[in-house]
């Protein structure tokens, strides 16, 4: 098959400039933020439920067998927490994804780093908003992640 290069009509560009129903960027961003604030309590409950599920999966003691599910749940927390401005929790969940991905790739399970991440994420939910504690927890997790990368 040869390479076919064609022009495509950018329909989005035409729509974005269409008169009637237009709003400013700042209004769009404010509206989106207000909408997100409205679902924040529900989103926090979902995050807490996921953290409980993750703790239960870890406590089941199945090691590497449960790692893909833990990874999937942690990846959900990355997105949910980040969209709700819980950046430290999102970072901690991302770090756990990184840790689990290494373990899955290497087919080697290690409980302590996962346990530390889960404890940190749970603590971050409790101290949501306290920047000093959040920063200290994230710094600690970075050290744990660095240790895993070196080992």
């Amino acid at each position: 098959m040869s390479v076919v290069i064609s022009k495509s009509t950018n329909r989005l560009a035409k729509l974005l400039r269409k008169p009637g129903g237009a709003i400013t960027v700042s209004r769009a961003l404010n509206s989106a933020k207000v909408n997100l604030d409205a679902i924040r309590p529900e989103c926090c409950r979902t995050i807490d439920r996921i953290l409980e599920d993750m703790a239960a999966l870890f406590d089941a003691g199945k090691g590497l067998e449960n790692a893909p599910t833990l990874y999937k749940l942690s990846n959900q927390v990355v997105g949910f927490a980040g969209s709700m401005d819980m950046m430290e929790l999102s970072q901690a969940a991302y770090s756990l994804c990184e840790t689990l991905d290494r373990m899955i790739t290497a087919e080697r399970w290690s409980s302590p780093p996962v346990q530390v991440h889960l404890a940190a994420m749970s603590r971050l939910r409790q101290v949501d908003g306290n920047q000093d504690i959040c920063k200290a927890i994230i710094d600690g997790l970075k050290r744990v992640a660095a240790q895993i990368a070196l080992s």
């Binding site: 269409k18 989106a32 991905d101």
Partner: protein, 198 residues
């Protein structure tokens, strides 16, 4: 390019498809889109649903999560680009990815998405991307191994030592001048001296 807060956008008539496997994730995407003025975004929770939908309804923008239950968002977009569905095969597509395992990074580049946005997703990041997509003028490429927007961002010419395969490829060697040389006065005009205070 930063977008001015006073810039005007209009997504009220846009047909937007959201593909996200979780209820909470779908709520987040929907609320952001409502804020942007999208009237009623279409929602699909799996790649199979999305494929069925895309075969019937024309869509202007697709926002798709990378990790779906049945198949990855990467595979969905790859299928769409090769589907020959008109006009959906060439629709602007944003792929949203959380943590990306190394094995999926290449999929992200090669699946044919117009943009990949890494979570956490905020309204600002998504709107910046949508506005950027609206200004995207890249050609659509179809080959044996890839279908989607041209992945080349800059034209650096053909590889060294080769003549190039495209009609508009320029040769690396400089040929004879085809226009008369500039007059010295023209050159001087380019370096017009100005007074400066020291």
């Amino acid at each position: 390019m930063p977008v001015s807060p006073n810039s005007i956008i209009n997504l009220s008539a846009a047909s937007v498809l959201l593909v996200e496997p979780t209820n909470q994730g779908m709520d987040i995407l929907s609320q952001i889109c409502f804020g942007f003025g999208v009237r009623s975004p279409h929602r699909c929770f799996s790649a199979a649903d999305a494929q069925e939908f895309l075969a019937k309804i024309p869509v202007d923008l697709i926002i798709c999560e990378a990790e779906l239950q049945d198949k990855g968002g990467y595979e969905l977009i790859r299928w769409l680009r090769r589907s020959e569905l008109d006009p959906n095969a060439k629709t602007s597509t944003v792929l949203i990815s959380g943590h990306t395992p190394l094995r999926n990074v290449i999929h992200g580049r090669d699946c044919g998405a117009n943009a990949v946005v890494v979570k956490p997703l905020t309204p600002k990041i998504l709107l910046d991307r949508i506005i950027w997509l609206a200004a995207d003028k890249r050609d659509f490429v179809q080959s044996e191994t890839y279908a989607g927007p041209d992945r080349r961002w800059r034209n650096l010419g053909p590889p060294p030592g080769t003549a190039g395969r495209r009609r508009n490829d320029l040769s690396a060697s400089v040929g004879q001048a085809i226009d008369p040389n500039l007059e010295q006065s023209d050159i001087d005009a380019m370096f017009r001296p100005t007074k400066v205070a020291i």
